[in-house]
Symmetry: C2
Subunit: 444 residues, 2 copies
């Protein structure tokens, strides 16, 4: 068993049919992945057999259905709700971490605290919460709002939401429940802590009705890269998912987050930064390129333009697809994502079509088409030079893209000593080498 | 295989350690049931092997911790969140129905619609939603409220909530998703239906991002027995859980609900009425009585008084425990439950202690202590004479109470032809012989 602090963390980002926008049309894709539970069981077990740190399920509480000609040609309209899906997968896996997305804008903190605490119990300490503020009007309209909450207010609410959730997770000390049949004492009353939170956005008394789990608290994951997102991540995140196209971006972000965290009194190793990577791998570069081109040719123009429009929160369909990206107004949606797209297009002088072809797979994340060594080189370089503590693997389609990565890239990473051959721990925290948070009463 | 319309529906109500308030202290109880997932797996599989229609998980979004001396002596403070628990159990069972409670007062309809639709997909059509309005201030205080929403307004909100949820479940026609890799069409745009709900309590655009499941819609379960609760049940419920102590009550309720349902144009067999039953069974009556007395003697006075206080939404601790139940003010909590307790105490002239001893197991539901034939006689009598379409089995402790019922009572029910020996269908609807709802577009 190899355990080393010089090893990568790896997540398997199991988005429905896969990450390439047309991947579902590939012969090796499971086209009904968004409604096929057995398929997810098989993916989760594959990822666990390969010793991934975690599987990750993103989320959207709505369908972006304003553009039906595009939507009806993508596999994005049906999906499992992440917490029900991961709970079910917890029952048929043993070791792999389970990270689900839940929005702070469209939930109540008591419900979110409970569900993740419950998943953490069910899974024996493998739960992680990807805290998002959500970014689309399509979601707000399902929650009594005409338009989405303002970006700044959303982050303010998110910070308080996080405070309430983590406070509720400390409702019980680790040894509160004695369950002594003889004396009749079920728990020690003095080991129960009522939160009594009264803040600007929330008033939550507590306590939570779930006992403290093997992890102490589920792992906190975040993905916001805006100014407000970085600040929240530096204060609260234990894992940061992020999208970068170049090492310089990754390196700058990495240094910035660890620097900000230090200012909040946190050690650099208390946060794992995991950029997304979209690998298309084959034994030779030619084969890898062919595989990628095959996927690219499956993209209808209407789908490509709609994808890019969504990424920049601006409708590009009136503009010539073979012309440049127009000037964009500031967005109330995901700001950092818009900027990423604009930077990419400007840096390389891309047309709208060229831009959407560049993001059709990775959606702004790092895309690598090449041999196992090419991909391992790039991962190793980012890892060794302060660009990443690990990666979130975004397969072009499921199961084929994940199977490829496991069969071709993992052996190369292992040969270099960069990835585990067996799990050393049982909880997600242990996989990620994150400390188990002590209960405040025990620490004091 | 026996299939008959003259057979009972049976649910296993899997409340943590069991239903008797002191049951967790029994040597045969799993005291950490509220935090022990493996234990729930074993219970669910036992119930499935015994061919129960469903397992049922109740819920409370809070801990009633105002009375710590009592609370700390009961096994009610830690539990799994029902939807995460049932999703996990879905992965390790095949046929049994999965009914979870979710509150219309402390959730958003889009989230509830999604989670149950997702559970219905994961389980292959076995999900049921027990719609409750919640009844305790202890819950409201976890959701930004100083006190609970008024009873009438709560039911008004619940009715609209139900309308939104079931509307969202019809977002997609059964055959909307074609996923044709060759043409690139993933779904038929004309088979997508946007809800566009704008009501007094909710504004929800839709569509839901989960496809229509094998059941069409999860089964709707309700338990309210107040005037408002009965009306909502008659209009919308497919299963009604209810608490009765006498056949006359049960018979009156049964007739009333079916009569009200008819007024809404619904057939009597579109609603299954399932009272709770708390059986303590042994080969002889003496042994059954001994078993029950053993349990009763495990109840601390402080726990008994607190239990009754909670049932009537009024603090009885200042009153002499061996004196009569005082006059009670009207409650904003569960009205029908308060009335049930008052009726019981008045009818039989019981003291506070005698009353709590009567409800310590069944909490107002039908309690039977006797032989397999005694229990089967009573169930058969209610079933044949218009008191019940089935029962929700409330075990005195888990696993022992469930194991007892399966080993002793089920064979007697089967001997009388009152319960299945094998599942005839695959979905919860099929077990309960409830029609699969046609999509409105298909019906039109």
């Amino acid at each position: 068993m190899t355990v080393s602090h010089s090893q990568l963390a790896l997540g398997a980002f199991l988005m429905q049919t896969g990450h390439h926008i047309a991947g579902w049309r590939h012969p090796a894709a499971q086209a009904d992945a968004g409604s096929n539970f057995a398929h997810y069981v098989s993916l989760a077990r594959q990822a666990e057999d390969a010793k991934f740190d975690a599987i990750f399920i993103s989320d959207s509480v709505g369908v972006r259905n304003r553009n039906l000609p595009s939507l009806s040609r993508t596999a994005r309209a049906d999906q499992f709700e992440p917490l029900t899906l991961l709970s079910a997968l917890a029952a048929v896996t043993e070791r792999i971490g389970l990270i689900a997305t839940a929005s702070t804008s469209f939930n109540e903190p008591y419900n979110v605290a409970r569900k993740f605490a419950s998943l953490d119990q069910i899974s024996g300490g493998r739960a992680g919460w990807n805290l998002v503020t959500s970014s689309g009007d399509g979601e707000a309209e399902n929650f009594n709002l005409d338009q989405h909450i303002d970006h700044a207010q959303r982050y303010e609410r998110a910070a308080e939401f996080h405070q309430v959730v983590t406070g509720l997770w400390d409702s019980w000390e680790d040894d509160a429940f004695v369950r002594d049949k003889n004396s009749g004492l079920y728990f020690h009353p003095e080991k129960l802590h009522v939160l009594n939170h009264k803040g600007k956005h929330f008033s939550v008394r507590g306590p939570l009705n779930v006992s403290r789990s093997p992890q102490g608290q589920p792992v906190i994951v975040q993905a916001g890269a805006s100014e407000a997102g970085r600040d929240l991540a530096a204060r609260t995140a234990e894992v940061v998912f992020v999208a970068h196209q170049t090492f310089d971006e990754a390196n700058g972000f990495y240094a910035d987050i660890k620097h900000r965290a230090a200012a909040y009194g946190r050690a650099p190793e208390a946060i794992r930064i995991m950029p997304g990577i979209f690998p298309v791998v084959a034994p030779t570069r030619t084969e890898a390129e062919e595989k990628f081109q095959y996927l690219q040719e499956l993209i209808p123009t209407v789908v490509g333009v709609a994808l890019l429009s969504q990424m920049v929160s601006f409708d590009l369909s009136p503009y010539p697809v073979d012309g440049p990206l127009p000037e964009l107004p500031p967005t109330n949606g995901a700001r950092s994502r818009q900027q990423l797209m604009v930077d990419l297009a400007r840096r390389e002088g891309l047309t709208i079509r060229q831009t959407y072809l560049r993001i059709a797979g990775a959606r702004g994340h790092l895309q690598v088409v090449g041999t196992p060594a090419d991909i391992a080189d790039l991962m190793e370089s980012w890892f060794r030079n302060g660009g990443a503590d690990g990666f979130n693997i975004m397969s072009w389609a499921h199961p084929a893209g994940l199977t490829d990565f496991i069969a071709l890239v993992l052996p190369e990473l292992r040969r270099r000593g960069l990835f585990r051959t067996e799990y050393a721990g049982r909880t997600l925290r242990e996989h990620l080498r994150l400390q188990r948070p002590a209960h405040p009463a025990a620490a004091g």
